[in-house]
């Protein structure tokens, strides 16, 4: 067994109700040490090409990061990876909370779920032993009821319960997975994949402690203690601790990069209605993920025009902008209720909000109306219509049957030029970050294998000033020269390439985006020291970047096999047209410059510039020769 791991993966064949344990050795672990890398490896190897995302052949992998469970702030993450029913490509979503750490403590680094159970079931994992249990009584129940029932049945008050909601049961392509009710694998429809397997929940409980797995538990413990004090001494983590992500809204609005009215504008005229002051009035507290001193998770509770409880998380910034400015709803109470509904029903907040904003713009242009939506009149600014739509999406009834498809498929169905209003990449609705004010984010949206995700790489403003705290944090990664937020030249592409590899490494290590530099308090040397203490490896920044790059290439090979190409690495046309309002009015992303940046990026990655397929040479450098042949990826 390798230090930092259990050296064990749980395999669950739901068609035949069988479980098995598979072990791996250290040489394998050092290449695929957890999270995204470990999960992508198994998805690519084991899912037959062309498998139906909602069929039994899809493979859902839940993989804890290498450091998940270490006594280290932000070391909590795990990845859910499968073929996405929303995009048809590499589906990926990560979450924090307690489930990933508990999986490690229960004796496994990952769970591989295959097949489809004939009846609803749930999976119970306790200290290296797994049981598939009857889940018929849980199907259709709300998440708190399911969590309570599992804890009662197992007698484990602190069993960590990961589950889907009604949207997952109903196979909504953007259904999410939640754990502990408050932490979400939101993106790319992993909840629908779990629902398609008739698997309502996976509960885990372990008796081990991460330090028992570590090469040098004393050193790891000391790093964790030191860093937990640093959280309040660093401006970025201090801010996350003080306000959480909802504190971002006002600043993004002032900078002209708050998505507004389906990404037509960059600032919201009524931002006070959803800004920090309004949010503070409904905030009831904050919570933490496992062992994390940042404690950034906001809770809201109020009984006023709507009733919202603190059962679930948020709203986080993505919901505030998604349901607020992007749907032109300037009422934080509506935003909080919409967020609560999504969480209760198991819907991804970003895709739900993006799809509704798309439908609202279609309504403005007479392309979708009450006649198409069972009487529902979805208009910008109409909070009541939004709240009416969400449960119907989760149940796929009435207007929800159409809205549950997501913006790209709705546009394909209704036509009439509506595709130009669908703010999505590869079918995944864009996160709430306006790329016309930070163009590196656009590179991420366009080229990421899972679609328009905002956590793929660094956001450009970090690199504008070489004297800033954030910039200094990036220097150990080899980033030494500043560049403008709107620059798309060679320097920006180089920074972006480093950022993608580093962020991918974070997803392998199980570190939250809000932990490591340059985004936050944990310096690059701290990350290296933690990995060394956990594993005993003499690891360097370069090796970590390579681990991150290997994971990206596995995802790319999966997409290539499923028919994706450079043509899919494109932005919605709107981003190539001027912003219609706000401080950055007129800003747009030059199409030729952007295509040039993608070519330059492919060159750095060692991918064929015409097709976006990894070359054999680069695959060999990354130790992925096997993937070229086994994936039938036709590498260039």
């Amino acid at each position: 067994m390798a230090f930092g791991s259990n050296g064990a993966i749980l395999r669950v064949d739901l068609s035949n109700a069988r479980t098995a344990v598979e072990t791996f050795d250290e040489s394998f672990f050092r290449r695929y040490p957890g999270g995204k890398a470990l999960a992508a490896y198994h998805l690519l190897r084991e899912m037959p090409a062309g498998a139906d995302p909602l069929g039994p052949d899809n493979v859902l992998v839940l993989a804890a990061g290498l450091l998940a469970g270490a006594p280290l702030s932000t070391a909590t993450r795990f990845n859910a990876i499968a073929r996405s029913p929303l995009t048809g490509g590499f589906g990926e979503s990560e979450a924090g909370g307690f489930w990933g750490p508990e999986l490690k403590m229960a004796g496994f680094d990952a769970i591989i779920l295959t097949g489809r159970s004939p009846e609803p079931v749930w999976l119970w994992v306790r200290d290296g032993v797994a049981e598939i249990r009857d889940g018929r009584a849980l199907w259709g129940q709300d998440p708190p009821t399911v969590q309570a029932a599992i804890r009662e049945e197992t007698g484990e008050k602190l069993a960590r319960v990961l589950q889907i909601g009604r949207a997952g049961e109903n196979l909504v392509p953007y259904a999410m997975i939640m754990n502990e009710l408050r932490h979400y694998n939101g993106r790319t429809g992993m909840g629908a994949v779990m629902g398609s397997k008739n698997l309502r929940a996976v509960a885990v409980k372990g008796s081990r402690r991460y330090l028992e797995l570590a090469h040098d538990p004393g050193a790891l413990s000391e790093i964790g203690k030191r860093l937990s004090k640093t959280v309040t001494e660093h401006p970025q983590s201090w801010d996350l601790r003080t306000k959480g992500t909802p504190g971002l809204t006002d600043g993004l609005n002032a900078a002209g990069i708050l998505p507004t009215r389906n990404f037509r504008l960059g600032s919201f005229e009524q931002v006070e209605g959803i800004g920090w002051k309004a949010y503070e009035a409904i905030r009831s507290g904050t919570r933490s993920c496992y062992a994390c001193a940042i404690r950034c998770k906001p809770e809201t509770a109020f009984e006023d025009r709507y009733r919202v409880t603190d059962t679930y998380d948020g709203p986080e910034y993505e919901a505030v902008a998604g349901f607020g400015s992007n749907c032109a709803i300037f009422d934080i109470q509506v935003v909080a209720r919409a967020n609560e509904l999504c969480n209760e029903l198991g819907l991804d907040v970003i895709s739900t909000a993006g799809t509704v904003a798309f439908a609202m713009e279609c309504a403005e242009h007479g392309l979708l109306g009450p006649a198409d939506l069972g009487g529902l009149d979805l208009r910008f600014g109409d909070g009541e219509a939004l709240l009416e739509a969400i449960p119907q999406i989760a149940d796929r009834r009435g207007p929800g049957e159409l809205l549950a498809l997501g913006s790209r498929r709705i546009a394909e169905r209704i036509g009439g030029g509506s595709g130009s209003f669908a703010m999505q990449v590869k079918g995944l609705e864009m996160a709430m970050h306006e790329p016309r004010g930070k163009v590196g984010v656009a590179l991420g949206y366009a080229t990421n294998e899972a679609g328009a995700d905002h956590l793929v790489a660094f956001h450009d403003p970090i690199f504008v000033n070489a004297e800033s705290v954030a910039f200094k944090g990036a220097i150990p990664l080899g980033i030494t020269e500043p560049t403008g937020a709107l620059d798309l030249g060679e320097k920006k592409v180089g920074i972006w390439y480093t950022g993608e590899r580093w962020n991918s490494a974070e997803k392998v290590l199980g570190l939250c985006f809000f932990g490591p530099a340059p985004r936050s308090f944990m310096q690059v040397d701290d990350v290296i020291a933690a990995v060394r203490a956990a594993t005993g490896w003499d690891i360097t920044v370069d090796e970590l970047l390579e681990i991150g790059e290997r994971a990206v290439n596995l995802a790319r090979l999966f997409n290539v096999r499923e028919g994706f190409s450079r043509a899919d690495d494109r932005l919605p046309d709107r981003l190539h047209t001027p912003l219609e309002g706000g401080p950055l009015v007129g800003a747009s992303i030059d199409r030729d410059a952007f295509e040039g940046a993608i070519s330059a990026l492919y060159a750095l990655k060692g991918w064929d510039p015409a097709t976006g397929i990894p070359t054999r040479e680069r695959l060999a450098q990354l130790g992925l020769e096997w993937a070229a042949s086994e994936s039938a990826a036709r590498p260039g």
Binding site: W238, D250, H433, A470
Partner: protein
């Protein structure tokens, strides 16, 4: 002068407060005011004076005690 340090810039305010009064006795360049307050200029991405966004590097912009300044950080990710 009224000062609002948004987001992580509140870290540099008195007792880590983001919103406070900062008396100044004479007009001065806004960048000098930031230095007096103790906000690292390099970490200010957007600067507002009396509700209007102003360039960070414009030496002609001056503020007086009656003014309000808003400083926004290079916010990233959510």
């Amino acid at each position: 002068m009224k000062v609002h340090l948004w987001g992580e810039l509140g870290f540099y305010g008195p007792a880590k407060r983001g919103r406070f009064e900062f008396p100044i006795t004479h007009e001065m360049r806004v960048t000098d005011a930031l230095r007096l307050i103790g906000v690292p200029e390099a970490d200010v991405a957007v600067l507002g004076v009396n509700g209007e966004v102003v360039p960070l590097d414009d030496p002609t912009i001056v503020v007086a005690d009656r003014d309000r300044i808003d400083c926004y950080p290079a916010t990233s990710g959510g």
